[in-house]
């Protein structure tokens, strides 16, 4: 093999290696969740979860049954079901991503958060996020799934225009009940 051909082959291999490195997914990509994006009012369907955001509210105080708490609250009214399983199916992951931080849905009021999901039997209700007092997010992202361990499973991602909602004085969480799509 002539020296010229050796050089050409070497350069070609370096270029090919650069393309391979460029096209190689990030290290955590092999465990990345399967994200299904939807808008408010639109039903999103993942592997074993389906959900629709019915509405958004902000309030300086939230009530649920005989429970009440003041704070900087964002309330998300939801309809949600599983799609295949019922035993072991829960709304285990309800996370709001805003301003580079993630906030879990509050466990303080009785809500849809961590409730059982029924296969193709939707239930409606609310989840509530207690945000820092000085935080007024503009655009936020809601992620919904069966577990906070999102690896290799569907995650529903809904973009929320939180900045466009005027806060009310007091809002009540919807009672969790059977519903329809």
């Amino acid at each position: 093999m002539s020296r010229r051909i050796s050089w050409l082959a070497g350069i070609a291999l370096v270029v090919a290696a650069w393309f391979v490195a460029f096209a190689t997914p990030a290290e955590d990509a092999r465990e990345a969740p399967f994200v299904v994006r939807a808008e408010v009012g639109q039903k999103a369907e993942g592997r074993d979860i389906a959900a629709r955001v019915d509405g958004l509210r902000r309030a300086d105080a939230v009530t649920a049954a005989r429970w009440r708490a003041e704070g900087n609250w964002l309330i998300v009214d939801l309809t949600v079901s599983s799609r295949v399983t019922t035993s072991g199916a829960f709304l285990g992951n309800a996370t709001l991503h805003a301003d580079g931080r993630a906030y879990y849905a509050s466990e303080r009021p009785t809500s849809l958060h961590r409730q059982r999901l029924y296969a193709d039997l939707p239930r409606s209700g609310s989840i509530a996020f207690e945000l820092p007092p000085d935080l007024t997010p503009g655009i936020a992202t809601l992620r919904l799934g069966g577990s906070t361990d999102e690896r290799l499973d569907s995650v529903l991602e809904i973009t929320l225009d939180v900045g466009g909602i005027a806060p009310g004085a007091e809002e009540e969480l919807r009672t969790t009940q059977w519903s329809t799509w």
Binding site: V84, S87, D120, W178, S179, T180
Partner: protein
């Protein structure tokens, strides 16, 4: 230089290493898959012992089935749902059986699965229906199980039931409303 004979010049010298690879690669694969499958065994059972419609299953001397199923009108059922009532005879044959609540699964389609729904239907925990295995006693009994399912679920269904002594096996009795 003999190019023909030199095409695979090293395989004899590396024969032992190649033989080791042939043994070790499948052994490694088997070991990993066996360990992983054991660590992910479900508490509800992984290994079905099946019975077709009209048949029963016997595991550990306990006979389950044959089961029957029917759709019933139920005012408490929400829109978009229907109620399937499954009757499942269990004969412990003189033994005690402490079963987990049987689950209902579509035999085809997406294989959707539902849980016993007496609570959701407001039947109460202490009604006349036997919805779980008796805590004590060895006499035969019949489970009467109500499942809230999606309105488009037509069956046939599998009724999956197991108990701790039978794990990882579980009884899968097929019923057709």
């Amino acid at each position: 230089m003999n190019r023909g004979r030199g095409r695979w010049p090293h395989w004899r010298r590396n024969g032992v290493a190649l033989a080791a690879l042939v043994v070790l690669v499948p052994t490694t694969w088997l070991t990993i898959t066996t360990n992983e499958s054991e660590s992910f065994s479900s508490p509800l059972g992984d290994d079905p012992v099946t019975a077709e419609v009209g048949d029963s299953v016997t595991m550990n001397g306990i006979e389950v089935g044959p089961g029957t199923a029917r759709f019933v009108e139920e005012d408490a059922a929400p829109p978009g749902s229907r109620v399937v009532v499954v009757e499942l005879p269990v004969d412990p044959n003189g033994d005690e059986v402490r079963c987990m609540s049987p689950r209902l699964r579509e035999a085809d389609g997406r294989g959707r699965e539902w849980v016993e729904s007496s609570y959701e239907l407001g039947y109460g925990l202490f009604g006349d229906r036997v919805t779980g295995c008796p805590v004590e006693g060895t006499a035969p009994f019949t489970l009467v199980l109500s499942y809230l399912v999606a309105a488009d679920a037509t069956g046939p269904f599998h009724v999956d039931m197991t108990w701790s002594e039978a794990l990882p096996r579980f009884a899968r009795v097929t019923v057709a409303p």
